[in-house]
Symmetry: C2
Subunit: 245 residues, 2 copies
């Protein structure tokens, strides 16, 4: 399996939540993917757009965000290599959110037509993509309960737990350490807090011995403690290895 090719990455990610047959892997590995590099903070698609293709993250982090009338931003999701941030656009023709790069990114683009075609011929691939959008929705639910009912300290811990688990699925964590090229302002937009408060919360997490950070590298020092602080149960990520079918 070409884990370093765009297709191999996508397959690896899909397989972390859905079992694929050899034939299905083969079909997916032959999908034409057009690769493009992006700088940080570039919009990929915007609210109101009618995309004709989906975007696969190959390197870097992207985010899905919405703006309020007052101009405040809420990041509703981060996406890491292997993810498809706008997979929904396959069936929702108008974007109700924007997608942007957070760090420098390499992105792959796949035309809707190609995806529709492959879905028509391989119902189980339809199911795999559908399932991927359902896991995204599950993450939305989890974030929402965090923002609505947990304090900022716990939300931040939760976010770090989630990113660690998701990055692990694509081999981007070593010894509890991973690269997190996300500014505190962006973390703030994600957890629904102010930049200042996020800064203080991160200091607390460090002071409590849960994490350490050096530049954009984050190390989890106390996984059990961080999970407890974040009230984190990976069930909602619906990974196959957690006993989810």
């Amino acid at each position: 399996m070409l884990a370093h090719s765009p297709n191999g990455l996508m397959i690896r990610k899909l397989e972390s939540i859905f079992p694929l047959s050899d034939e299905e892997r083969q079909v997916l590995s032959e999908l034409p993917i057009q690769v493009t590099a992006f700088r940080p903070d570039q919009d990929i698609v915007r609210v109101g757009d009618h995309p004709f293709q989906c975007c696969l993250v190959l390197q870097g982090f992207t985010c899905v965000y919405k703006l309020t009338a007052e101009g405040k931003r809420q990041i509703v999701a981060f996406h890491v290599p292997g993810d498809i941030p706008d997979l929904q656009s396959l069936h929702l023709k108008v974007m109700d959110n924007s997608v942007a790069t957070v760090s420098p990114c390499t992105l792959g683009f796949i035309p809707h037509e190609t995806l529709h075609d492959i879905c028509n011929r391989y119902p189980r691939i339809t199911a795999a993509f559908w399932r991927e959008t359902l896991v995204d929705a599950s993450i939305f639910r989890e974030w929402m309960t965090g923002i609505g009912r947990r304090e900022a300290y716990n939300r931040m811990a939760h976010l770090l737990c989630e990113l660690k688990v998701r990055l692990e699925a694509v081999g981007l964590v070593e010894d509890g350490t991973f690269d997190l090229p996300i500014t505190q302002a962006e973390l703030a937009d994600a957890v629904g807090a102010s930049t200042v408060h996020v800064n203080r919360v991160l200091q607390e997490l460090r002071a409590d011995g849960l994490i350490r950070s050096k530049g954009t590298q984050v190390s989890i020092l106390d996984w059990a403690g961080l999970k407890a602080a974040g009230d984190f149960d990976p069930l909602y990520l619906h990974r196959r290895r957690d006993g989810n079918a």
Copy 2:
């Protein structure tokens, strides 16, 4: 079209977001649906369950909720007649949230097996159900940005706008008036606020001449004003009539 039959209601709701052919309508109208009555505040499925069927709301309101370790509840969605609150369970075998009745309800149940069978034979019905789950996800995104970035007053206005539009799609609004059998405590769990604060916010909305309420009946007195207060743009509901494909 039997708009009063369980199947007719489901079809009407689906058609508000997805165009169906005569044949597809026919197939859906023949789905066997087992109808059961529920009292208020009854769990229909719980976190950790492995459901073998999906639940269609026929009468009343249901909610999807999650609990934090501290026992706080976040309602992440309300569902009204025509909706399928646990459609996700078709592809996510373990429930990551619970579903409960809010008011007295009539619910219809459809085995997963039946749904999978129909999806295999009618790819466009697959697409319709997939799309329904995508619209649910879009609503999660919108709620999340509200909870994260809007104040309680605006969130409450937004929620009322959304319910009005969704109830309209199934013919449950007359002259801007609809039945809202949801307690203030439940509204609080949905907008991520305390019961006390929701009470005050509702008083403000009434004082501002935006709504009126009598018992469980809510009347929208100033639709434009309520939309403005809620920063409400129905785009995210992806109804066909809003120019969404």
